[in-house]
Symmetry: D3
């Protein structure tokens, strides 16, 4: 029934390749089906003004899509002169989600910027960005710990994200682009490996949904997050 | 226990005053406690390029805050030269939420723009904007129906929004600013009067939450939405 | 002869409601006929770089129109990405006019920003903004004096503004929108209650005017300013 | 008493050199003392959208200052990414003033853009721009008339501009930069050769002025305009 | 003598992997040592306004660097709100260079946009972008020819680019970042496989160079271009 | 054969008039045929952040064209809101070229900004800007030396620029606009009087060129630079 032939609760194949750029403190290419996102983590000693002197660390994120990561070419945001609303929304989400899994006291007064650049898009780019972004962050933090710059691990519980939605009336896990563009309701679920919720964003444009449907999608999401967290830990060598 | 002395499941006083500007096709000032938002609806015959010729209508929204609607003065976005990320996120949410309650075939090929401008802010401005925005939309659509430009009512079920969150560990309904700035988890719930969900946005920065807690907040939200929808219908003279 | 039926030298009804937002140090809603402008005054301890350390104070102003304050919806300047030429011109005029009535030594090294936001427009918004802006400024200064932060009153003489013009060949006081859009010549007159001139801006697009006509308009303006100043003092509780 | 040693009612030396660039339909370099402004007029067949099809012509203006036209270098507006408030104000004034002297029916549906670029500034640049701009406009219109594209002369009465002000308490004509930066009150007066008023802008920052003082400045302005108009006609070969 | 241990006239290892994204009409990842650039070619039926109706085709290019493609993180241009001067210069160079190798009549009235995004930078990114960009262009044109949309091949002679410079006084081929940042003189040479010159850009900041030195660098460039062109043809399957 | 009737190796008449604005530390109007560029040099005590405290000086340049310096009016960049790609490219070239002729240690920690504004364009504006810019720089440095602020002369060798190209298949010196717009290949050559190369930019859009042709153009350029340098020294009174 799904265009890809997957079962309702079956994720696309997921791979996470680390160490893909030589400059970044942490990096990976995450591939969730045909969605490929390059994630890098950059450590800097400066923090945003509003926490200067607090001793707390900060994690922030930026998101972009290469112009031809999509079916038809999108205008390059740098040339358009600003980031679109969707971009801004997504990068704020990535930043908030990753921060929720960070012990900012343990991190110490430094900033880690996670850049997520979509190389090829086929639905679910923001979820792949969060999942891969956590791996890049994990690797950068490992470097800090190895160097003795950070004493206790600020990353206690992996953070991953997956989308679920109602496609042709059925609850499905991990929507690809053909499903995403048809789904009546879809949601992004960001959770920790241990099953705690970080962010839930469910949205219905043109149709509404019930609490029962919402709960079914949450069940699917929990299954997907479990699988993603295992991949994250494996990739990060933990 | 709440700074305002309210019960955990008690909303702030809500009033919706209609007809507050003489130019707009629909308008109201919604006051949810000390949060005051001016909402206007503008009908235009043109639609966005991507639906031109489709026969479908469009509803969109813009959001702004007066510079001194807040405790300390914010920089005016027009003078800063762009809308901030938060503004963009909120106005996209308002537009999506209102569209979910609109029969776009019945509306016909025209656009209604709902402007939500915060005159005074005390928490929950996006929810007030959606709730008041629907009333402005309702009044504008009434005008179309009275003029015979629209035959069957494109607004079947009122759309309202409320925030709930965990404040000092307790689930509370309709967070005001002192609560909002302290809450571990908070969510915005957009629903129809009939209890269908349109958008759920729950977010935890620095702490996570469980599915049980999520369900408790949804229960509170349903109560609040019921009260808001009654106010909306009363204000719109339905 | 006037569309509104007013006498040539008759102003529209004027009301000034103070204390309209709880956050600002001074605020009022001024209504001149159907022109409604919300004015707030914000006190800050910082001053612009060019007077830092001089001991002098500064008063500045910003102006905006809500998108649907006008007959047809205007594009939101924050979304257009810049303030238009008319906006810039008006807010510079408001700032200059208010500063002319301020003893900047007595004010001391602090800045007061007066925000004037047009809620509903029907001609004469810049004049209403100056007149209402002075009241907001007055209230904010009162707060400084009460707190002992300012010793001698920096506001010696109320500042008000009114427009006059030649409508259908006749000199008229306080043009509303239907008159303003037809007037051959129109002018904005900013004066103190005591009759001193602060700014005179007379302009003829497509037709010219004589010194005699100019003097007649000034006579009308003096009458209007007198009435406005009385309203200002009454509103400010002086 | 004046820094330059001029009499109170004495203008700086004025010269207007025409034909200074080979591309423009009309051009001149106006020199009012050490203030030098290059003015060019460009004829185009298109008109702004709001008068398309009306048969009426349009005259508009743009103003700029070379970065080192001033005592200390100013930032280039093209590099700053926008025209400053003062620039916008001035170019709107130039456009309005020139249009007031144009019979737009006689001009026919075409646009003339007058560019005024300050090569060297020493006070009074906007007035020099209007006075020189009219000459460039005159020459461009001559070309249209010679070619038979325009039948009756759309420029009936020369338009010129001069500043006057109160310097050290004395009314003076044609302020140069040292006077301008000290003047309590200063005004820009745009008139036709025949003595009709087009625009009066008087402004007092920090001090106010009386109607008597205003009238004295107007007398001075009339004298200056007469002298400027003679120079304009001589330069334009009329 | 070179930091990398290469001979003076030795290029870094070059690989060109094609078909790296599923959406683009042509794509490759070019790796010149540690410089990795992703190149995609997009075919569109529209052309820029200035050649509409001419029957001629157009090839244009855009260039970007991922924020962490460099040793320390660069600010994302989309977030800075504009493309920097270096970016603009480079993408204009890429476009001009590729166009020089295109028979625009044979291409027909369509546009091909070549996007070059630097994934990892280690000197010579603009040269790698041109060399890889030509391969992406080649693949896209192959698709047009296979589909019968283009009859005679518009790409007659491969276009490649290489940098040469004076490093520690010695002429070297294909500068990497450590060399580039120290070089007194460096140049970018764009040529066809057949040895014709398309663009020569030699630049000396702080030191100058002689015609003899220039000729030596050109000799080196010819050698490098020959090697690159062989790789291009091999990758494109020609 | 050339539209102007010049010999292949004949430059247009060149004149350099110095002291053309009273404010700048150095200034000249350079006229190369009908191309007229106003060049000013501004000395400032501050330097860019990246050399603060190094003791080294900096020379930078900005370039602009008056809107009607060209055959048809160009949009004013300040009003367009940004400098175009061509402008950015040219001003970077001017800055680099002038810096190559400066002993930055001798200059001391100060910045000289050279503004080059095209008053009238007829081809070769960037070359005229560099040649005239060097004269303005020379005059400003003379002022520093006279004042004893600089001890040893930081300008050892004049820097000049000229364009050459293949017009109708023939190598020609100093292209004017009619030649420039037709030339198959054209180049800009920046050299010192002593014949050292600073920058070579040769470009072929649509046709390619050989090394022999390149050498012929370099020969022409050397001739032109010699003539220009003589004019520079004469103008600067050296």
């Amino acid at each position: 029934m799904r265009p890809s032939g997957r079962d309702l609760s079956e994720m696309r194949p997921v791979s996470i390749e680390t160490g893909v750029t030589k400059h970044a403190e942490g990096s990976c290419m995450i591939r969730v089906g045909d969605t490929h996102v390059l994630c890098t983590a950059t450590i800097e000693d400066r923090v945003p003004p509003f926490i200067k002197g607090s001793g707390l660390g900060w994690v922030t994120a930026e998101y972009g899509m290469l112009p031809r990561s999509t079916t038809s070419r999108m205008r390059r945001e740098a040339s358009a002169g600003k980031q679109g609303g969707r971009t801004v929304e997504i990068q704020r989400l990535i930043g908030r989600s990753l921060r929720a899994g960070v012990d900012r006291v343990a991190l110490g007064e430094r900033q880690i910027t996670v850049d997520c650049d979509v190389i090829q898009a086929d639905g679910g780019t923001r979820c792949a960005a969060i999942t891969g972004g956590w791996v890049a962050l994990r690797l950068a933090v490992n470097k800090l710990m190895k160097a003795g710059d950070v004493m206790s691990d600020p990353l206690v519980d992996p953070v991953a994200a997956v989308s679920c939605g109602l496609y042709a009336g059925q609850p499905v896990l991990d929507l690809d682009y053909p499903e995403d563009s048809e789904a009546g309701t879809d949601g992004n679920f960001i959770m920790t490996q241990s099953g705690r919720l970080i962010e839930v964003q469910m949205s219905a444009e043109g149709s509404t949904f019930s609490r029962d449907q919402m709960n079914t999608l949450l069940d699917l999401a929990e299954k997907g997050i479990g699988e993603l967290a295992a991949k994250q830990l494996e990739a990060a060598g933990a």
